[in-house]
Symmetry: C2
Subunit: 262 residues, 2 copies
Amino acid sequence: MGKDTDARLAEVMSSLVRHLHDFAKETQLTQAEWEYGIGFLTRTGQICSAERQEFILLSDVLGMSMLVDAINNRRPPGATENTVFGPFHVDDAPIRQMGDNITLDGKGESCLFEGRVLALDGKPIEGACVDVWSDNADGFYDVQQPGIQPKWNNRGRFFTGADGRYSFRGIKPVSYPIPDDGPVGQMLGHLGRHPYRPAHMHYLVTAPGYQKLVTHTFVGGDEYLSSDAVFGVKNTLIAPYEHVTNGDTLWRSPFDFVLVPI
Amino acid sequence: MGKDTDARLAEVMSSLVRHLHDFAKETQLTQAEWEYGIGFLTRTGQICSAERQEFILLSDVLGMSMLVDAINNRRPPGATENTVFGPFHVDDAPIRQMGDNITLDGKGESCLFEGRVLALDGKPIEGACVDVWSDNADGFYDVQQPGIQPKWNNRGRFFTGADGRYSFRGIKPVSYPIPDDGPVGQMLGHLGRHPYRPAHMHYLVTAPGYQKLVTHTFVGGDEYLSSDAVFGVKNTLIAPYEHVTNGDTLWRSPFDFVLVPI
């Protein structure tokens, strides 16, 4: 590398090349395997489009995305843990009132989500934005089915009051496969891995003076909790789902979010 | 991975994932750097076409291609060393007579290439095919300039007789840049690296009962010998280029190739 190379770039590239070479030496990579790798990376790049990012998917299923997330979002004990953002968030979802129903297609088992947004000392945070999104009962996000699902189905933003409480009705989410009709799906097949993510509700929780929290809560008991295709599960994020009988609502999932000051 | 995963695939993928994660941990890779990497890989895949393989180029400039070549072509002392094949070989070049001139465009400084194809014990190999190719005096291979250069310019195949000798006239090759108008070229720029390969003549030497030899001879004294953009230079492959005065021929480059039995 040249003398004027940016110091951080030099550090990253040195490490990358060393690990790449160590990988080849350790495995005694054959010419045919190298060629297969070149072809795989090429196919992965060529299936990418404005609607599809196969390299992020590759990073996800190799545990790289979660690792980078963990490196960059270290939190003290007691704070809610991060997990992957995923590709399905949409900015500027409708602002709703506490208790509103975000499920617009009438499908699925209705569930009440409620809890508090708290500081590390247990005090409620006022004015926190709880931005939520999930798949519908068929396992698809609204943006995957434009014209089929109502716009903003299973999405909404809720702003906390002085008590820090949030509550909304949605559905008990269902597990779904990541897109597995491309090179990454083929790879999962060769590795004997399924493409499923365990059922989860997405949260983006923000509040002035606090670090942004990107996380999910997972449905306890889901069959894919220990084999999430993208390694997104953390035990502290598995939420209770209690059976209730309250009108049409069948479930209640309580969960408190604890934010860290900036 | 599933229980039925191919053992070799499992070995390669385990090593790959471990090194990938170690790279991220060692560098404490940031979210922005990860995003840049995803974007870089995507651009690299998307510029690939039937005529261009940017991932091979990436492998080349990171020293990966030469490493894989070295791992898969270990040779005993005394045998000629391998180097990278490169993208410019064409099968079935014209078979020519010893001493023929392969330079059809009349450009460049004429050079006599001659030597022997030998076994490890020094005995000449009869019936060896010496398949040669180089760029022209402007630094381009014929396949890079169809319609500009004559077809088969600076290419040919020569079959040895009982004495194992080969000889042909071509030009003293010139250094040239690898394609640097894509993501890999941008990367080289950021790293303060030039895109040049030192001048070289390509050889593919085959003979019944012997291992295939893919190599170059390099022009001694070339300014890029110690900084080949693809790390292809081995000291034993630097050939002498002697000034001569023999008609139009200005140079003579003698080199013997030593093959290893299968």
